[in-house]
Amino acid sequence: MRIGLVNPYALDTPGGVQAHVVDLADYLLGAGHEVSLLTPADAEDDLPPYAVCAGRAVAVPYNGSVARLAFGPAVSARVREWLDAGDFDVVHIHEPASPSVSLLALWAASGPIVATFHSSQAKSRSLRLAAPMLQPSLDKISGRIAVSAQAHGTVLRQLGGQCVIVPNGVDVARFSAPDGEAGSEAARSAHASGHAAELADVERPATIVFLGRFTEPRKGLPVLLQALPRVLDRMPGVRLVVAGPGDRNEVMDRVPAWVAARCEFTGALTEVEKVALLRRADVYIAPNTGGESFGIILVEAMAAAAPVLAADLPAFREVLDGGRAGELFAVADPAGLADALVGLLGDHRRRAELARLGPARAQRYDWSRVGREVLAVYDSVRPPGGQVHRRPSSLRRLSDTRGRATHAREVQR
C-alpha cells in the first residue's frame, strides 16, 4: 500500500504527535508498505529518508500556547505537489484541524482519508469557532481515529462525528531490554525478576523519577516539589531525579535548600538514557494537573517495569487500567501525593507486583498491536482501485456529472 502521512508540527522539536508519527512510519515501512511523510521541519538534512519537508515551521500563538506550524502559499503549493506526486492509496492526516500542513493537506486532498485526533482540550474555543469553516473539509474524512476516550470526547463536542479509538504506540521491547536495544523474551523476564529483587532491597535509598518539560506548570513538577518535604520527613533517603529540558532555577527558587539537595536535574536525555533511568526508578511519578489526552510516558515507564504513581486524570486512569497497573492520587494534591508515595515506597510487595503487571499492561500499546489496528482502519476505508488525488475545483466537479457517473460505475466494478 502507498501511504501518505501528514504531521502538523516541526519534526525537529520533540513532541508526542511527532514521535507517534515517526514510529508509525517506521512500523508501516517494517510491514512492507511504502510511506511518505509530509512535515514541517527546520533543517531538511536531518529528516529521515521517507520524510518530505513542507517548509520551515514558524512559532505562532495557537489555542493558548505557542505551536511551531507551517502555512502560507509556498507551503500550500508543496502540499499540492506532494499529493500529485504521491499516488497514495490512503492519506493519514494527524490533527487534521491544526492550522498547519495538516489542514492544508485535508483541504487539497480527495479520496480515502484517515485522520487521527490527538489532543483533548476541554475548552478549545478556536476549534469551535473554526468548525463551520472546517466542516466541508472534515466531511472528506472517511475514517476518524482518536487516541483515547478523552480525545474522542473532544472531537464529539467540538466537531461532531464518531471515532474509533486506537491508542498511541510504544515499542515495549526497547524499554524492557538492557541498553535500550530490542531483546529476547528471556532477557525481559530476567529483567523483571531482577528489578523486583532490587525493589525489595529495603536498605537502598529510593530513586523517584519525573520526566518531561518541567517548566510547564501543567506537567505538575510544582505539586511534586510541594509534596517532597512531607516525604523526606518520613523517608530522608529518597532522591528525586528530574529529566527533561528546562532551567532548574525557574522551578527551584522557592524550594528549601535541604529539599533541593535531594533533587538532581539531568537535563534532556537521549532515548537510551531515558530507558536506563526508567529502569532504575523505584517509582515513576506523573503529577500532571491536566490537559493530557494520553499518557505515553506512563506506558513507557510500565514497559520499563517502573512502578507508576500518577495523578488521577481520566487519560492516566485509562492507561493504568483503572488503577490496577499503577497507583493514582488526587489531581494537584501535594499531601495526597506524599502519602501515596510514602505508602508505595514502603510497600515492596505492591511495587514488585506493579513491576510485573506494568510490562503486561504496556503490551496493549505495543506497536505490533497498535500498528495492526491502524492498518485495519486504512483497509476499511479504501474502495478497490480508489486513490487519493488532488481535489478538482468544486464547480468543475458539480458540472461534470457525466464523468462522475462513469467513475461510480468503475468503482462498483
Binding site: 462525528g161 464518531q162 474509533v164 486506537v166 485495519a376 482502519v377 479504501r382 474502495p383 468544486s394 468503482v411
Partner: protein, 174 residues
C-alpha cells in the same frame, strides 16, 4: 429618496449574496459527502467480499473439521450470492455469516487472517454508517430539501447487520 433606494438595493444585494454563499456552501458539502459515501460503500463491499473469500480459504486450508468447514462454505456462498444494494436479504446473509463465524471459530486468535477480515468489515460498516448519518443530517435540512440541492439521488440508508467480533478495535467505544 435616492438614499433610501440605495440602502434598499444594497440590503437586498447583501441578502442575495448571503443566500447564494450559503447555497454554494451547502452544495459543496453535499458533493463531498456524496463522494465520501460512494467510497465508503465501495470499501464496505470490498471488505465483505474479502471476508467471504477468506472464509472459503480457511474452510479449505486451515484444518477445520469437515462439518464446520461445510457450514462456513455455505455461509460464504450466501454472502457472495448477494451484491449491489443492501437489501434486507443481503444484510441478513452477512449477519448469518458473522454468527456462524463466531460459532465455528470460537478462538479467532488461531485464525489471524479471518480475524483481520472480520475486524475490517466491522470498521468499514461503522465508517460507512457514519458517512450515511452525516449525509442524511445535511440532506434533511429544509433548504436542501426544498431546493432539491441533492438532485434526485435517494436518501442513503444505514447498513445494519451483526458484525460483532471479539477483540477488535471496532469493539471499543460506541
Amino acid at each position: 429618496m435616492t438614499a433610501l433606494t440605495v440602502a434598499v438595493v444594497t440590503g437586498v444585494l447583501a441578502v442575495l449574496l448571503a443566500v447564494g454563499w450559503y447555497l454554494s456552501y451547502a452544495a459543496v458539502r453535499l458533493d463531498r459527502l456524496h463522494t465520501r459515501l460512494e467510497a465508503t460503500a465501495a470499501a464496505l463491499d470490498a471488505q465483505v467480499v474479502r471476508r467471504a473469500e477468506c472464509a472459503i480459504e480457511t474452510a479449505y486450508a486451515r484444518g477445520l473439521d469437515p462439518a464446520s468447514a461445510t457450514l462456513l462454505l455455505d455461509a460464504a456462498r450466501g454472502s457472495l450470492d448477494h451484491d449491489g444494494p443492501w437489501t434486507r436479504e443481503r444484510q441478513a446473509s452477512e449477519s448469518a455469516m458473522t454468527r456462524l463465524m463466531r460459532v465455528v471459530l470460537p478462538e479467532p486468535g488461531n485464525f489471524p487472517e479471518i480475524h483481520e477480515c472480520a475486524v475490517r468489515v466491522r470498521l468499514a460498516r461503522r465508517f460507512h454508517n457514519e458517512a450515511v448519518e452525516q449525509t442524511r443530517r445535511v440532506r434533511q435540512r429544509p433548504v436542501v430539501r426544498v431546493l432539491r440541492l441533492a438532485g434526485h439521488t435517494e436518501l442513503p440508508e444505514r447498513v445494519e447487520f451483526d458484525d460483532d467480533w471479539p477483540d477488535g478495535i471496532g469493539a471499543q467505544a460506541a
